[in-house]
Structure formats: C-alpha cells, structure tokens
C-alpha cells in the first residue's frame, strides 16, 4: 500500500488534515455547546425572573384591592347603620316630644327597618341588648326568638359575641358563618353591630365576605388569563416554554396540557412524581432540573430531554417553571459543526488536490531518475553518457534536492564510467603482468637445476617454493669437475620481481665465477674466493642496497671433503648417521652486495658416507603460524634429528610437511628453499676424521 513515496506523503497529509479538522470541530462544538447552554440558561432565568416579578406585582395589586374592597364594605355598612340609628333617633325624638307614644315610636322604627334591602339582598337586624331576643329580622324563623344560644355552623355564639363587642366598644365588627337568604350553603359574613342605648337595641347589618373573595378570585383569574397570554407569547429557545402549577398539583398554565390536574404526573423515565420533583427543584432555583417530556409538535411521545428552572411564589402557592429542550440548546453547536464540517471538507479536498499535484511534481523527477538508473543497469552502462546528460538536464530543471540528487547521480555515473574504463585497463594490465609473471616464474624455475647425472657417491634433492610467482631464493648444484660438486643456497633480501632479478644475477655469477676459477686456477676452487669475487661484482652500482646471503660449498666426491663459505646465510645443518645434527655456524660474514672489499672465511669438513648436508633459507625457520610463532631452528633441528637418513627427497619432504602442518592455514610469507645432499661414497674406504679446520 505504501510502496511509493507519493502514497506515503499523501497518507501523511490526509492524516494530518483529518486529525486537525476533527480535533478542531470537536473543540469548537464543545465550546459552542457550552456557551449556548450558558446563554440559554441565563435567558431562561431572566424570563423566569421577569415572570416572577410580574406575578409579585399583580399579587400586590390584588391584595391591595382586596383590602380596599373590604374597608369600603366596612365603611358602607357602618354608614348604613348610622342612617338607621338616625331614623331610630328621629322616632325617639317624636315620642319625647309626645307626638307619638314610645311604643308607637319603637314599633314604627322596627317596621321601617324590616323591609330595607340593599346590595345583594342584604338587610338590617335588631336584637334586644338585655335579652338577646331578635326584635327585627327578615327571617321569620329567627324573628322573635331568643338568640342567646344561637351558634353559627362553626359553633360560634354569634349574638353573644355581638353583645360583648357593643358592651365594650359601643359598636364593632363580628365575623361568622351564615346561610344567606335564599341559599343553602353557609358563607362567611362580616357583621357590623351598634348599640342604640336609649332603647337597649343592638342594630346591625352583615356583608358576605365571599363577595370580596369572589372578586379577588375573578381578579386572580384575570391575572392567570393575562399570564396565559404572556406565556403563550414567550418561547425560550425555539420551543421551550413557561408553565405554572399550584401546590396541589394543578396545572394552571401549560401550552400542551389543558388547565387542570396533570394528565401525566409521573416522570416517564424514573416514574417519580413529576410535579413533586419540580416542587423539590424549586428549592434550588439556580440548578436546572432535567427530565424527559413531550414536545408541543409531538404531544404523545414523552421522550424529549428537557431541563427546567422552577420558582415558587409562596403567597399564591404557585410554581412557575421555564423549560427548554436540550436538543434545541445543542442545535446551534450542531449547526456550527455542520457548517465547519462542510468548510473543512472543502478545504480538505482542496488541500488533497494541491498535495496531489505537489507530490506528483515531486515524485515525477524521482521516477525519471529511477527510470534512467534502471536504463543504465539494463544496458550495462553502455549508454552511460546519454543517461548522464539526461540527468544533467533534470538537474538543471529541478533546483531542489531531487536536482542535487540528479547532479550527484550524473557525476557518479561519469565517475563509474571512468572507473570502469580504468578497471578494464587495469585488469588488462594486470592480466598482462600476471601472464608475464607466470612466464618469469617458469624462467626462474628453469634456471634451477632439477636433476644431476646419477652418481653412486651422493643423493641430492632440492626444491624452492616462492611465496609469490617469482622469488629471491635460489639453490644450485653442479659438477665443477669430475670429482667436485658445488652446492649453493642463496636468499636475496626482499621478495617478488626485484628480488628475482637480483637472484638471477647472483645465481649466474656464482656458477660462472666458480667455473671460471676452476678453469684458471690450479689449486682447487676456494668457495670464499668465489663469494669475494661475486660480492665485488654485485656491490658496485648497488644503490638499492639489495643483498644476497649465500652459502657455498665445494665438495670432493672421492674423499667427502667439503670446503664451505658463508655470506650471512642461515648456517646449514650437518646430519650425521648417528642422528646428531650440527649447525655449520662458525663463519660470520656480511651478505654479498653490502660491503665492498668484504672477505669471507672458509671451512673444511669431511663427510662420512650417509652424512647429510641440509641447506635452507629462512623461509623455513621463519614460517609463521596463526599465533605469530616461527617454525624456528629448534623445530627444524628436532625434525632433522628424527630423520632416518635414507633419502634426501624424503628428508626434504618431511621438513616441508612439518612446516605445512605447523603453519596450518596461515599463508606462506617468504620463499622457502631446501637443498639436501647425502654423501654415499663407497663405504669400503677408510673413514677419516672430519673435524673441520679453517684453511683461509
């Protein structure tokens, strides 16, 4: 899926954009919702406060009105009774003046009192102060009866109370319950009574308080109606509303429930009493009460989450609630999120399109780069210059990282091209040199003698193993004359081609010098003289300080007498038939080629039949194993001591095997040369002492 740079980059961009948009939307919607809720709550509270204020206001005016009405009634009855008193006084005046008798006066007064009606069929009554007998009353059942024990329906001795009031104050108000004329139900009545002292009469009239109450009720209904109209106008949020219920659970105002007891008074989710819960909520007016309820648009489904604030108006035992639908509170946030989502989608698509273009533009040169490189590989670098030029163009057209990459690629391709060219040349040159070295190796090996005419007097075996194709070691053996054989081993300092050239010269000089000395000298061929002459020749013009160590021995076959000289070479070993091994290390001299006028000592020893001479170069003793240890002279000596002296070849082979075993897998680091010579002269000849002595 993400195999291309393009898809990775695009995925990254899409991921970042999506994450940012979603996070932004979530945060905004939360903030908006929180703010909307807060605002809505404040609105709700404000509305509620206003409503409460209005209710309080109305109530105040209502109670003022009621007080006023009551005092007006009271004043009215007081005035009416005062008029009646005046009439009584008038009658008594007539009697006092003697125009009528007192009895006539009393009678006419009572007669005139009886028919007076006012207000709602209200009337006057009169009771004798002393006897409490009714002397005037429109009700025939009461008229003329003793009212002393008259009780109202609540058990109050009404007339006794009237007697007490007038006794104490002369006049006053007494309230009691009374059945109104023409009605069956008792009503609360406020009665005004006044004493007419001259005749000992209590005269009074009553008003029914419920007239005032009903007026209050009427006004209250009016207030409710006013509130209903107000509530209907007020919506909180989109369809939140105000409602009103009283302490008895009667819904007085509600938009979807007719006034009366709540049709559904229990909370549908919790089952608890809905209005009771709201009454409780009124105790904490600032904490919203959450519940589920119906919706004006959907009055039969009680499944809408709402929250309400409830206030209590104690004087009327009214609860006013303001409720809103939570959905509506969240709606603005949702609307904003919707809007944002729309905008984000547009921005997202734009960004995607732009990124697509940008990434494609970025990827295009990369793809071209890849294509060019592939071409290069497919065509085996044969078109490298064409590709490099194409990459140069690419580098010129892109000034960014891709351009730099292309430029680097182009220069890398050119460098590779050069390198391939050089490698081809070098390989050719190396192959030439290697083939030349192989030829040189063959020539060098060809210079070394392989066999010598079979003679019963000796058994000789020699081998050289160069560390490289050509080396600086050499050995030589040849007949100086019929009775003398020359043995030589040399080691040129250094290795490889320079050493091999010096070796060729040295070996040739040794043989030539030996042969020439033999030819021009009568008394034998002294090996030290050979070395002296070879040195004199080699030391000239030797700026490189090349040198060669040479061990040279000339051996007389009939006697076994061996003369030898050593120019700084590893001393050879004399292996006697008794198993002893002795190094011929008495001679010390510098190598050939180092010191002009160097002189070399000479020694003589006599070989017994079976004795062996073991000549070698330091490639043997200094063969190294992986621990960095040398094969060493001691090991060589032990190896030679255990040899059975039967064959030169076997002896040499044995040493080489030992060295190979010792070295294990370590590479050979120096040329190795061996020359083994066994003297086998006819054993019938008397052996002679063989202690060597210095001749020169």
């Amino acid at each position: 899926m993400f195999t291309s740079f393009k898809s990775k980059l695009l995925t990254l961009i899409v991921g970042i954009l999506l994450t940012a948009s979603v996070a932004f939307m979530i945060m905004t919607s939360r903030a908006v919702e929180r703010e909307t809720l807060k605002a809505a709550e404040k609105t709700t509270q404000d509305e509620l406060n206003l409503v409460m204020l209005a209710i309080a206001n109305e109530y105040q005016s209502l109670s003022y009105h009621r007080e006023y009405a009551l005092s007006r009634y009271k004043e009215q009855v007081k005035n009416l009774v005062a008029v009646v008193m005046y009439r009584l006084e008038a009658r008594r005046e007539l009697a006092l003046r003697g125009l009528i008798t007192e009895k006539e006066a009393k009678q006419t007064a009572l007669d005139s009192l009886k028919p007076i009606r006012y207000g709602h069929n209200d009337y006057f009554f009169a009771v004798d102060y002393q006897t409490l007998r009714s002397i005037s009353h429109p009700d025939p059942a009461i008229m003329g009866t003793d009212m002393t024990n008259f009780q109202d329906i609540k058990g109050k001795y009404v007339v006794r109370e009237q007697q007490r009031v007038v006794r104490e104050h002369g006049e006053g108000y007494v309230s009691h319950w009374h059945i109104r004329l023409g009605e069956a139900q008792p009503r609360e009545k406020l009665t005004y009574v006044r004493l007419f002292k001259p005749w000992g009469w209590i005269v009074g009239t009553g008003i029914y308080i419920d007239d005032i109450e009903s007026e209050t009720q009427r006004k209250l209904q009016h207030i409710l109606e006013q509130l209903r109209q107000d509530f209907a106008r007020i919506t909180i949020g989109e369809s939140g509303y105000l409602f009103l219920f009283d302490g008895s659970g009667r819904l007085l105002i509600h938009p979807s429930v007719a006034a009366g007891y709540a049709t559904r008074s229990s909370e549908p989710v919790t089952g608890s009493g809905q209005l009771q819960a709201m009454m409780n909520a009124a105790k904490t007016p600032d904490v919203p009460y959450r519940y589920t309820w119906n919706h004006p648009r959907d009055p039969h489904n009680y499944r809408y989450a709402k929250q309400a604030y409830v206030r209590y108006f104690q004087p009327l035992d009214w609860y006013v609630g303001a409720s809103v639908y939570l959905d509506e509170l969240r709606a603005p946030a949702r609307a904003i999120v919707k809007q944002q989502a729309f905008l984000t989608t547009i921005v997202f698509l734009l960004a995607l399109a732009l990124s697509w273009l940008l990434v494609s533009r970025m990827a295009k040169p990369l793809n071209r780069l890849a294509a060019y490189t592939q071409q290069l590989a497919e065509r085996d670098f044969s078109n490298s210059e064409a590709v490099a030029s194409a990459l140069d163009l690419l580098a010129a057209s892109c000034r960014d990282e891709v351009g730099r990459l292309a430029r680097i690629f182009a220069s890398m391709i050119r460098a590779l091209q050069d390198y391939i060219g050089k490698l081809t040349e070098t390989t050719a040159a190396r192959e030439r040199i290697e083939s030349e070295l192989r030829v040189a190796h063959d020539i060098q090996m060809g210079m070394l003698p392989k066999v010598l005419a079979e003679r019963p007097e000796f058994d000789i075996y020699a081998t050289v193993q160069p560390a490289r194709e050509v080396g600086g070691d050499f050995y030589d053996f040849f007949f100086v004359d019929e009775n003398h054989i020359c043995l030589a081993v040399g080691d040129v300092s250094g290795k490889g081609v320079p050493a091999s050239l010096f070796m060729a010269v040295s070996k040739t000089l040794v043989r030539l010098t030996t042969t020439l000395i033999r030819a021009f000298t009568a008394e034998g061929t002294p090996p030290d003289e050979v070395l002296r002459r070879v040195n004199a020749e080699l030391v000239r013009e030797n700026d490189q300080c090349m040198f060669v160590t040479i061990f040279l021995s000339i051996l007389q076959l009939d006697t076994g007498e061996a003369q030898y000289a050593n120019a700084g070479h590893n001393p050879p070993f004399l292996m006697s038939t008794d198993g002893t091994v002795r190094a011929l290390d008495e001679l010390r001299a510098p190598p050939v080629g180092v010191k002009a006028n160097a002189s070399y000592g000479k020694r003589v020893l006599r070989l017994l039949p079976g004795d062996m001479l073991f000549l070698y170069t330091d490639g043997i003793t200094e063969a190294e194993n992986s621990a960095g240890m040398f094969f060493s002279e001691d090991r060589l000596r032990q190896c030679l001591a255990s040899d059975d002296r039967r064959s030169s070849r076997l002896c040499a082979q044995r040493v080489l095997d030992e060295v190979a075993t010792f070295r294990d897998r370590c590479p050979q680091n120096d040329d190795m040369t061996l020359l083994v010579f066994q003297y086998r002269r006819n054993a019938s000849r008397r052996p002679e002492p063989r202690t060597g002595e210095t001749v020169a």
Binding site: S493, G494, C545, F547, T549, H569, R588, A589, P590, E622
Partner: protein
C-alpha cells in the same frame, strides 16, 4: 611496529617496538631516512622491544649505514634480544654497524668512534 624517537646531543635514538619485516620495513625506512635527511648523524637503533628483524629490515639498516657514511655519520645497535642478535650476527652486521649491550654504551661508543 612502533618507533619512538628520542634525541641526544647530535643524535637520535629509535626505540623499535614489534617486528621489522617485509610489511613494516618501508615505514621503518621512512622514519630512519627522515631523521638522516634532517641532519642527524648519530643514530642508535634500540632493539630492546624488537621481536624480529627480517632481511628487509637488514636492508634498511645497510642502506642507512651507506647513506650516513659520506656525512661522517655513524649508527649503532643496542639491547638486541637473542633472536635478533643471532640474525644480526649471521650477516656480520657488526662489521658495518657496531652492536652494544646498553644505550649508554652505544652513545659512548658513537662518541668515541665519531
């Protein structure tokens, strides 16, 4: 191989640590020749820590001795171990470069010889 050079009067002491073989000889040669080129005519090769010297190493010694000769310079070798000493004696290097037991003797020897 590691070479530590210390100076004395008109001379230099080369303490050679390790092996002088075909591989390390060119490095040894460079150091030795640089010293000679910069005018040191008394040179002591201190072989106390020298484990091995091959013919390539000997060749450097001969070359240095040859190079010093026209400048009346001298070389000396000191404190060679038995293995190194055997190689040195095999080629009779003492006839070209004197060998001493200690550094002090070598310095004394060069002063006397010079």
């Amino acid at each position: 191989m590691r070479v530590v050079v210390s100076k004395f009067e008109s001379g230099a002491v080369l303490n050679v640590d390790g092996r002088i073989d075909a591989v390390t000889a060119p490095q040894f040669r460079d150091q030795l020749m640089t010293l000679i080129d910069s005018g040191y005519t008394r040179i002591i090769i201190d072989c106390a820590l020298l484990a091995y010297i091959s013919s390539a190493g000997l060749r450097v010694l001969y070359e240095a001795a040859n190079k010093l000769e026209p400048h009346q310079g001298r070389m000396a070798i000191c404190r060679a171990n038995a293995d190194v000493r055997r190689v040195l004696e095999m080629v009779d290097i003492a006839s070209e470069i004197p060998i001493f037991a200690t550094q002090e003797e070598a310095i004394q020897g060069l002063r006397y010889l010079g």
